[in-house]
């Protein structure tokens, strides 16, 4: 399966000066885009599509676009750690421990571990791509609506239990998140829900608006609240880079995260978010100090960051081998390939092997470049933290406001973001955890759509979720997970009661 000759040929193509240059440009642009709130990689790729189409070689344009895609992943983790603003859904989990580490003066370690973890994941991802791409892609096709439903249910349970303290509050937030996701068009029948006559609400609320509002604006308001001042940033900034001990601690998390991310990331639509959630769960369970999670555990950054980067690599698999794009960015790359006259799919390898291997090799190079770019940048970001918060706060506010406007060109979005910010601030004050809300908001529409599709397929019978092997297995895991948490919760309470 491992076509060494092909890969070598690919490197030959990827290392040409033109391709190297555009790889660098893509990586730089992508990082910038990932850091700037609002603009996402898909939108940037769309902006540059006409430019890339004028480049003679299709390989070059794909290299540019994938560079942007990866760069955005790296950049997105930067804002998650420094500002608690997730660049995209897959970075939400990084916000949890990453931001806590930053507050404790360990921003450098967090950023460094995120960059290194992403590099490890990207490398392993490329290896995986060359070795097991086609059979894994076939397996991904077997995931139909029932499987997606079970998977998102599991993901929701993971999000609710693992990211907060009180299950009741967690479930409340998750339910609110699910309801927020219902605003707009019903995914199946197209009926308008909860718009209350406001035309801007007739289309679903954008993730960026909600994420930046809840996490970004909410955090700013919370920090301004002087009564909560006790919990704010220490001014001491620790090591700028991760120590050897940090690296040793996160090594296994990176490897595990990479594998998890690679496997789950193949699933079109939502793979990266689920991957980061599962990785977080696995790390928490396998850690010797699970109580650190949520307060700044380095594995809680290393694992999910590796997972979402590995998922980014493997999201190319359905595109290149089956011709099915898994997310908005790969959809744009799909469009570019088609216009160049190259049809992605099983014949891509046979008819345009040089394109396939060129792209794969450049992914590897892109990862190296991003690592080389980002590690020194860590020092720069950490210096940025020295800017007094008094100045930073309005800047961040402006960035998020303009960013959200640039997504939908709508002033209404800014109002929604502000409202979310107020809600997020109040929730934090009253000790509600926002992670489950945001994750439920992302997973909810997928869950509902899959549920109703599955029921249509089964002509109304609910047994379909349990009789199909993959779905049944996932449901089983979900049930076990709930039971385990209920039991350990009761055990904890009994222990507390006994101690009193």
């Amino acid at each position: 399966m491992f076509d060494f000759a092909g890969l070598v040929g690919g490197f030959h193509v990827a290392l040409s000066p033109v391709n190297l240059l555009w790889c660098l440009v893509g990586a730089l642009l992508g990082t910038a885009v990932g850091v700037l709130p609002g603009l996402g990689p898909a939108a940037t790729i769309a902006l540059l599509l006409p430019v890339s189409l004028k480049m003679g070689s299709p390989v070059t344009s794909i290299i540019l676009m994938s560079g942007i895609f990866y760069g955005a992943m790296y950049g997105g983790s930067t804002t998650s750690i420094l500002l608690k603003i997730p660049g995209e859904a897959a970075s939400v989990v990084t916000c949890i421990d990453g931001y806590q580490m930053a507050r404790k003066g360990r921003a450098g370690a967090a950023l460094g571990v995120a960059a290194i973890g992403s590099f490890v994941a990207g490398t392993l991802g490329v290896v995986g791509l060359t070795a097991v791409a086609p059979p894994l892609a076939e397996a991904a096709l077997k995931f139909g609506p029932p499987e997606y439903f079970s998977l998102t249910v599991l993901g929701l349970l993971l999000a609710t239990y693992l990211t907060g303290a009180s299950p009741v509050k967690g479930f409340l937030m998750a339910t609110m998140g699910l309801l927020l996701g219902c605003i707009g068009l019903d995914p199946i029948s197209g009926a308008v829900r909860f718009a209350f006559g406001v035309p801007d609400l007739q289309s679903n609320i954008d993730f960026v608006t909600v994420a930046m509002g809840l996490f970004g604006v909410g955090e700013i308001l919370y920090t301004l609240d002087e009564a909560e001042a006790g919990a704010i940033l220490t001014t001491k900034i620790g090591n700028v880079f991760p120590t050897l001990r940090d690296l040793a601690q996160s090594a296994w998390a990176m490897v595990r995260g990479s594998v998890i991310g690679f496997v789950i990331g193949i699933l079109p639509g939502g793979g990266a978010v689920l991957a980061s959630l599962v990785s977080y769960a696995v790390e928490k369970r396998s850690s010797r100090h699970p109580e650190e999670f949520g307060q700044g555990a380095i594995e809680g950054v290393a694992g999910p960051e590796s997972a979402n980067n590995a998922a980014a690599s493997s999201s190319f698999i359905p595109l290149l081998t089956l011709g099915i794009p898994g997310n908005a960015s790969t959809a744009m790359i799909f469009a570019a390939l088609l216009i160049h006259g190259i049809t992605p799919g099983p014949f891509l390898l046979k008819e345009h092997g040089d394109v396939f291997w060129g792209v794969v090799a450049s992914m590897y190079l892109g990862n190296v470049m991003l690592l080389v770019l980002n590690l020194p940048l860590v020092g720069m970001w950490v210096q940025l933290l020295r800017v007094p918060y008094g100045f930073m706060a309005p800047m961040i506010m402006v960035l998020t406001l303009v960013g959200v406007y640039s997504v939908g060109n709508s002033v209404f979005d800014m109002w929604v973001m502000l409202a979310m910010g107020i809600f997020g601030y109040l929730a934090r004050k009253l000790k509600f955890d926002l992670g489950p809300l945001l994750l439920a908001f992302v997973l909810g529409p997928i869950m509902e759509r899959s549920l109703r599709q599955a029921l249509l397929m089964s002509r109304g019978s609910g047994s379909i979720f349990f009789t199909r092997p993959i779905s049944g297995a996932l449901m089983g895991v979900a049930v076990l997970f709930v039971l385990y948490n209920a039991w350990s919760g009761r055990r904890r309470r009994r222990r507390l009661a006994a101690a009193v």
Binding site: L172, T175, L179, R193, Y222, L224, A393, P394, Y405, L418
Partner: protein, 149 residues
């Protein structure tokens, strides 16, 4: 804290009520035997109501802390920040990105962060320029036409 928690529970209960009303009377619960657009919201509304009830009656020792809310030190600065932002959003379409950003940053620095007026004004203009250059020129974001730019 208990009273705040109960207040939250009431809030969620109200939301649940609205959701349930919409899903039963406005949306369809079932559509020819299949789940309709109202079924999922209905289920969520029921879940929300149930969870609010649990929250209302819950008595967790760990959460018995005072929530500092009614001291002006707590809510004053966030409120001013929200007000300034609201002003920004209201005038954005009319005065354009440059002026509104400058006003937001300057106003914030002056009123919330309590910097000197000159410092606030200069920073405001600088930030507005940077934003204009990056978003309007480099990224070609379509902005509304404003007073200055």
């Amino acid at each position: 804290m208990r009273s705040w928690q109960r207040l939250c529970a009431v809030f969620f209960l109200l939301v649940a009520a609205v959701v349930l009303q919409q899903s039963i009377f406005v949306l369809r619960l079932f559509d020819h035997g299949q789940p309709g657009s109202g079924l999922m919201p209905f289920g969520l509304g029921v879940a929300l109501a149930a969870l609010s009830a649990v929250l209302f009656f819950q008595n967790r020792a760990k959460d018995e802390q005072r929530v500092p809310f009614w001291q002006p030190r707590a809510w004053l600065q966030p409120l001013v920040a929200v007000a300034i932002t609201a002003v920004f959003i209201v005038v954005f379409d009319d005065v354009g990105p440059f002026t509104s950003v400058a006003v937001l940053v300057a106003g914030w620095l002056w009123l919330v962060a309590r910097k000197r007026f000159v410092v606030a004004a200069v920073t405001g203009v600088l930030t507005a320029t940077a934003v204009y250059v990056v978003f309007a020129r480099l990224l070609m974001t379509p902005f509304p036409r404003g007073i200055l730019f």
